[in-house]
Amino acid sequence: MPKVVTDIICPFCGTLCDDIECTVSDDNKTILSVKNACAIGAEKFNHQKLPGRVTRPRMRQADGSFKEVSYDEAIDWTAKMLVASKKTLMYGWASTSCQAMSIGHEIAEKVGGIVDNCATVCHGSSLIAIEDVGVPSCTLGEVKNRADRVIFWGCNPAHAHPRHMSRYSIFPRGFFTVKGHKGRKIYVVDCRYTDTAKCADTFIQVQQGYDYELLNAFRTAARGESLPDTVGGVPKEKIYEVVAELKEGRFGIIFFGMGLTHTMGRNHNIDIAINLTRDMNDFTKFSIMAMRGHWNVTGSGQVLGWQYGFPYAVDLSRRDQARHQTGETTSVDLLVRNEVEACFYIATDPGAHFPVDAMISSSKKPTVTVDPHINCTTEISDIHIPVAMVGVETGGCAYRMDNVPIETRKVVDAPEGMLTDEELLTRINKRVDELMAAGGA
């Protein structure tokens, strides 16, 4: 008799929806159906049962083909690579649990690795700005219960965080927002008329790359100063009108995404968005939040933060101190400048998401990729170690985009004999210890 597992945490995006229901087969091995998840989340759960899944580590041969090896062989090869390399890039961590990260960082301390997470190509700019000017933020629960002015700036939750709008930001009825969508004014600022913009009361089409100027104009308008006729393609009348409406709200929130962090200005765009939020607090209550994309990337920032004081790109290669310098210890820069000797990728796919020049450099180095599935990176790695899917086949702690930790649930059993991230990293850690005790470093 199939059973229903309720209150499952979705392991796809930073929204961490916690109301997923799965019907699971009698033997606890297959997910038969998924309820409440978005299209992407449902696909994530359904992927568990796809035929052709790799269940044992694979090693690349000289001719480019892969042969199956045992976990022991793969762990030994990985530990030897880590010990031999003076500087290893240990990148990823965003789709694994905080417990696994912690073990990974222990290995990095021993072998002198550089630990970096997906924020480096995502919200890294936001983290620089937050380090610079702080961040007046809140939880998603407060947004649901209080926010009546919601701004989406350079983000498109309809595509990237599909249930964000229905669970927290646009449609839900909350304690002080009993009218739901009707009680909120929604603003979308983007260079495209996105699907999110179609839900907005006001769409502000900014010229691509002119976000800093427009944010500056919002600050100017909020202080009642004069503006030029248009800023970033937006007429000044519209800016004054929107700012006046924002001031009338009881609680405002700015959600921002890659439209600010990837365009020219990077951290300065976020810097001024945070300063706009601060200015708006002279008139009403206002908050700002980064739309963290990759599931537990926030958790990686948290764990690195409390262990070393920096949220990403932490260089532990000096062994006795942790260093962080954007542009120097960030993954893409390290790879492009050929400054690492080996690469260890876990729970991510830089092959698909790093610029090609970084991957050309990476492909010339000894590489181990730990991922439940075949992806672009596994195919150019020396070893691919498959593991159980965190959030589906094993539990663990993850952080939502508003920095709320949530314990995820195991839904089904992993394929027979497959290790979890935690088990794998613990064994690599042990093997590293043995090699170092034998004088390997």
Binding site: D63, V121, G124, Y193, H262, M264, H353
Partner: protein, 135 residues
């Protein structure tokens, strides 16, 4: 003489790209979702191309073949969009302005019709760049 047009490129997530990615990086869904460039109808006219024609997109770091399509998420003329993935990243400059973030948005590109050129698979497009393609 084939016509070339200059555009400003952004790369972003789309829900189809997300679904394809979770279905598997080697899946048809992922291929269909990411091997496209979305352009404004005016730019199709400037290029002299039909919808759903293969085009070569070039930037300062390289070029890639994708299919030119129209979009329901309206663009302004001169702005184009390729969903994030290994195809888009063939033409994304790795320079980070000391922030760690490459230029994923606001890339100057040139587009030309390449009707008979095939689109590579996700693995091949990366292996080809890294010189790991099996001949």
């Amino acid at each position: 003489m084939e016509k070339k047009i200059k555009l400003n490129l952004i790369t972003c997530r789309t829900i189809q790209q997300g679904v394809g990615m979770e279905a598997g990086k080697t899946s048809q869904k992922y291929f269909d979702a990411c091997t496209i460039i979305q352009m404004h109808p005016d730019d199709f006219k400037r290029l002299g191309a039909w919808k759903n024609t293969n085009v070569r997109v070039s930037s300062s770091v390289g070029s890639v073949i994708v299919k030119a399509v129209e979009t329901r998420e309206d663009l302004v003329p001169g702005l184009a969009h390729i969903p994030m993935g290994p195809w888009a990243n063939r033409i994304v400059p790795a320079y980070t302005y000391s922030t760690g973030e490459p230029c994923f948005k606001g890339i100057p590109i040139e587009v030309e019709v390449a009707m008979n050129e095939p689109i590579m698979s996700s693995i091949d497009v990366l292996k080809d760049a890294c010189g790991l393609s099996r001949k």
